[in-house]
Structures are given as C-alpha cells and as structure tokens.
C-alpha cells in the first residue's frame, strides 16, 4: 500500500518534470519574441535597450542553458517574473486562482448535481418528456461552442432583460464591502457560471443517463428486484452507487482541468481568473507567466488524479483488492 503510494508520487514527479521540459521547449520553438512584444507595447526602443533586456531575461543564452536555469529556479520555487506585470509569476497566479476556482467549482458542482439527477430520472423513464429533454440538452451542449452560449445568455439575461452584469467580477464603481461585496460578486458570477455549467450539464446528464441505463439492465439489479426490495432501494442503493462511478472519475479529471475549462468563458465575461491571464499572456508573449500557468495546471491535473484515485477506492471496493 505504502509502496504503491510512493511509486505513484514518484511517477507524478517525473511527469511534472516532463511537462516542464515540454512546455518550455514548445514555447521557445513557437514563433514570436517576448522582447519584441514588450518593446512593441512600450512604443519602440533602441537596439541597446533591446540587447540589455535580452541579457537581463537570459534570452541571449542557448536554449538548453535557459532550460537548465529555468528548472534550477523552479526547484527553488522561483517561477520567475512576469514580463508584462512587474510581479513574480507565483504572486500573479495566487491572485488569479481564487476567481477561477470560484467559477469552476460553482459550475462543475451544480452541473454534476443536476446532471446526475436528470440522468438518473431519465434512465428510469426512457420515453418520458424528461428523457427527451436530457437528449436535447446534451446535444445542444455538445454542439454549441462555449462562447456562443455565453453570448446568447448575455443577449437574453443582460441585454433583453437587464438582470445580470455582462463582465468582470465586481462593479467598478462600487466601494461595497463585506456582505455587499460578496453579493456583488455572486451577481457577477451567475452568467459565466451558468454558461460553463450548461456545457458541463450536457456532459454529466448524458454520462449518468448512459451509466444508469447500463446498471439498470445488469444481473444484480434483477437480483435486487427478485429480493423484493422497494423500488427506491433498488434505484438509490443498488443502482446509483454503481452508476455514479464514471461520474466520479470524470469529475476528478475535469476538476483537474479547471484552467483549460475556464479559458473561453473567462475571456468572454472578462472574469479576472487564470484563464484570462493565460489568454493574455499568450497574446503578450509573456513566457514566464504562461509557463507558470501551464505548470500550475499540470500540477492540478496530477493532484486531482491522485484525489480521484482515493475517492474511487472509497466508492468501489474492487479497486482495493489490487
């Protein structure tokens, strides 16, 4: 058991190093020069200044030396300085992670809860209105691009009926604090969270419906019915516990992918999270920031995989045996 955990941690560590090397190499192979981007934003600079900037950022060194320096610094917890904001990358990420986690957890958890309920009910009545509704939602959710859904919701809920703010995380003009600040943030949260949740909902309602259908047709459900258990026990005790397994797996995976999941929605709604930061860093060729975010999101994936593993062990006794 302990040995297994140790091996898993070691694997995770190796994976992280591989991710670092790969990200670093890919970004440096990609066209575009951070110094030129910076100089462009400054409105031009002398060749001397450009050369100075290059040597200050170490960009005049050969790639492998840069990589070595980079890995060495990361080992000490130093992710470097943003080329755009005058801030360490770690501080930037720390500042932006909160809004992203707020957005994604809200969306993901409401989608999982509602999606599972929809899936479970519609699996029991395959010809019901609800069942068809699930099919429509999941088809729409699968085929509609996130930004389109976002824009449609804006048109519907902030333009036609001005209920909700379009962008940002709080009202710029308000100096609200305490409870009012929280309410203001929640007010801003509704649209982006709803957009993201609709996409996830499509996925989870379909996943849990398919999973439930499969379980309901299994031999052990027939056994449960033959024992004379009441229907609610057959469904909620015997079927749901099995049908939920794939939902747990995917929830873990997707939670690990918070940042990539949030990029588009955050951008549409100017939500000040990591997704927006990542998007802007790409445009600004802010390599250290981008690398930091990529590394951070890889860490999230790995950590969430480990967590999912632990949760899964709790739900499915067959895993423990191995």
């Amino acid at each position: 058991m302990l040995k297994g955990s140790l091996r898993k941690l070691l694997n995770a560590l190796l994976l992280m190093i591989a991710v670092l090397v790969l990200n670093f190499t890919l970004i440096h192979i990609a066209p575009g020069d951070p110094v030129e981007a910076l100089v462009g934003e400054m409105g031009g600079a002398t060749p001397e200044l450009i050369a100075e900037l290059r040597s200050r950022f170490g960009l005049d060194q050969p790639l492998y030396v840069q990589l070595g320096t980079y890995l060495g610094r990361i080992a000490q917890g130093d992710f470097g300085h943003s080329l755009y904001y005058d801030q360490p990358v770690t501080a930037l990420i720390a500042e932006r992670i909160g809004p992203t986690i707020l957005l994604v957890t809200t969306a993901l958890f409401s989608a999982i809860a509602l999606g599972t309920v929809l899936g479970v009910f519609s699996a029991q009545r395959r010809r019901s209105v609800l069942s068809h509704l699930v099919t429509v939602i999941s088809l729409a959710g699968f085929s509609a691009p996130v930004f389109w859904v976002g824009i449609m919701l804006i048109l519907l809920l902030s333009v036609s009926v001005p209920l909700l703010p379009i962008s940002g995380m709080s009202s710029a003009d308000s100096a609200a604090s305490g409870l009012f600040y929280i309410l203001d943030v929640l007010h801003h949260l509704v649209l982006p969270a709803l957009t993201l949740a609709l996409i996830y909902l499509a996925f989870y309602s379909r996943l849990s419906r398919a999973s439930m259908l499969e379980v309901l047709g299994s031999d052990y459900i027939r056994t449960a019915r033959a024992k004379g258990l009441p229907k609610r026990m057959v469904i909620y005790k015997h079927a749901l516990r099995n049908a939920i397994l794939p939902v747990v797996t995917f929830a873990g995976l997707q939670f690990g992918q918070v940042i990539s999941g949030a990029v588009l929605v955050e951008t549409v709604f100017a939500w000040p999270g990591l997704g927006t930061l990542a998007f802007e860093s790409i445009l600004r060729r802010d390599t250290p920031t981008l690398l930091g975010i990529l590394f951070f999101s890889a860490v999230m994936v790995v950590v969430m995989n480990l967590v999912t593993d632990v949760v899964y062990r709790r739900v499915d006794p067959r895993i423990k045996a191995r």
């Binding site: 031999d219 027939r222 006794p317």
Partner: protein, 332 residues
C-alpha cells in the same frame, strides 16, 4: 393450508414485442405445484424456461415483454393481477430465485453479509444487528467457512461456487415457500456443480420449501426432483413423475432427450452406445405462428395431422400427460 395448491399456473402466455408485433414465447402453459413438492423443468435453450420462472416473480422484462394471458395463482392469489407493492411482499419472501449467473448476480459494491441482511430487514423488519446475525447464520447454513469474517467480503473476493452459495443464502434467508433455481450450476466447474447440488439436497430436507429446478440436464432432474415438465418452443409437451418419465418417455422429443443421457456405468463387456442426437434445431418463436406441432419438422414419426393441427395435452394416467398425436391416437 386449506387444501389450496401452493402454485397453480393457468394458461399462461408471455409475449415479447418484436418489430411492432407481440410474439408469444410461452403459450398456453399450465402446471401445478404442491407445498414441499419438487418440479424439474427441462427443455432446449430458448424454449422459455427462464422467462416462465421470471413471470412467477412478476419480473418479465417489460417492455418489450408482458404476460398477455392466463393466471399465476399463488396460494389462490393471482399474481398476474397483483400490483408492484404486493409483488414486493412476495418476492424474496414467499418466492425466491437463484439465477444462472453467480458471477454477475451480486452487487459488486456491497458486502455479501449486507446483501443477505437487507432482505431480512426489508421482509422481517429485523434490526440491523439481528439481520446481520441472521446473514452470518445463513452463510453457515450454505457451507461457507468462517462465516462471520466472510460476511464482510465483497463478491469479487469469492469464487463462483461460493458466490452461488451466497445467492442461495439470499434466496433462503426469509424461508420462502417456493424456491426457483434457474440452471444454478451451469456456470460452475463440474466438481463445484456436484457440491452445489449436494447443498440443495441437504437444504431440501431442512427447509421444506417447494422447489422448481430449471436445467438442461435430465440426470440432475432424476436426482433432485419428483416431477418433471418438458417444454418445447414455449409449450409444455410432457409431464409426469420422474421415475416413469425416465423409464418410459412418451413424446418423441423427450424420448430423444432421455436417450441423450450418456450411460456411464456399462457392463464390462458392453460397448458404449453411440450418443444419440436429435436432428435439427429449435424453431424460433416467430416461426411458430404456423399451425401444427412445433416439433414435427424434426420428428421421425410425424404424420400428416402433425403438420396441420397442434396436439393437445392428453392425460396418460398416473399424473402423466403428453402433447403428441401418436399418444392421443394410441389411446383412442
């Protein structure tokens, strides 16, 4: 019990909806069972044995299946008309069933103790502690070693034979009046099969439940049951006490079936008889809408009448009956 039959199935018809049409897979089936009686049901694959068994518990998969005609009288009460709530009182309590597939019939995420105990909780209203104690007792009864530790095992930790013992424990925990075993050993190794049948024999004495044993194996029927019913293509074609049935089968199909039993004990100088095989295959349900005996195309002794008229079940005395024109005409 006021002289009432334990079970009396009357003119049962079960259909499955296929391409918009209700195709009968069990037709005009009637049979009776007394308290403590044992009945074997034999017949080729697909003849409707399992679906008949499931219908007794109201578990015909629906849709597409449904009981379209007939009655299932259990101690005089028609279960075909019973609602789901009433059926749940009967299932697992008065009538219980052991299935063919021990590997998949137990829920993988609950301990075997829990899966036995919950049945006792639901039907007997036992407290969790008492129900657990009862589960351990049942595991002991079905011959599982160190039952109090084993009760905490999950199904995947047990072998197929052990799992089938657990299924039997679940079926018996509420002391049913009728136990249906649908090919309970088909999925098991031969040696394990023998052990499970020994267990059945032993329990038959102890519990006094009536048993319906479904099997392909006439040899098993001969050992385990008093009476036998032979099904072919959804109908009963012969029935009677086991001994007479084996000695003198009447329907040409059952004659074939009985002569298919390999005879192992031979006199030393005797050569083994060649194994007999019934030519042809069972017709599929939708081929059966034509008139005549379903077995006629495979029957060496089929007459003109056999292809136009479906034979009626004719009583032959001693509680025997066969559905064959040869018998009807011999009697006339």
């Amino acid at each position: 019990m006021t002289g009432k039959k334990l079970l009396s199935v009357r003119n049962l018809e079960i259909t499955f909806r296929t391409e918009g049409e209700d195709i009968p897979v069990v037709r005009d089936l009637s049979f009776d069972l007394d308290h403590g009686d044992t009945l074997g049901i034999v017949g080729e694959s697909g003849c409707g044995k399992s679906i008949t068994a499931l219908s007794l518990l109201g578990l015909v998969p629906s849709p597409p299946g449904r009981i379209s005609k007939g009655q299932i009288l259990f101690e005089g009460e028609d279960l075909v008309q019973a609602g789901e709530r009433r059926l749940n009182q009967v299932r697992g309590n008065d009538i219980s069933m052991v299935f063919q597939e021990p590997m998949t019939s137990l829920n993988p995420v609950y301990t075997i103790g829990e899966q036995i105990a919950e049945t006792a909780r639901v039907h007997f209203g036992l407290s969790p502690a008492k129900a657990w104690a009862r589960a351990v007792e049942m595991l002991d009864l079905v011959g599982i070693p160190s039952p109090d530790t084993r009760a905490h095992d999950f199904p995947h930790q047990l072998s197929g034979g052990m799992r089938q013992r657990v299924m039997i424990a679940i079926a018996l925990v509420c002391e049913p009046k009728l136990l249906i075993a649908d090919e309970p050993t088909t999925a098991l190794d031969v040696t394990v099969q023998a052990q499970v049948f020994d267990l059945f024999q032993e329990l038959k004495q102890k519990i006094g439940a009536a048993i319906i044993l479904i099997t392909h194996d006439i040899g098993v029927v001969a050992q385990m049951t008093n009476r036998v019913m032979v099904m072919y293509a959804g109908r009963k074609i012969e029935e009677g006490p086991v001994a007479e049935f084996i000695r003198d089968p009447r329907h040409p199909y059952t004659r074939g079936l009985v002569s298919c039993i390999p005879r192992l004990r031979l006199p030393p100088d005797d050569h083994p008889a060649p194994l007999f095989e019934i030519p042809g295959v069972v017709p599929s349900p939708w081929e059966l809408n034509r008139p005549g005996c379903a077995f006629a195309p495979r029957c060496a002794r089929a007459m003109a009448r056999c292809r136009t008229e479906n034979p009626v079940l004719a009583p032959l005395g001693d509680g025997r009956a066969a559905a064959c024109w040869l018998e009807t005409e011999a009697a006339a």
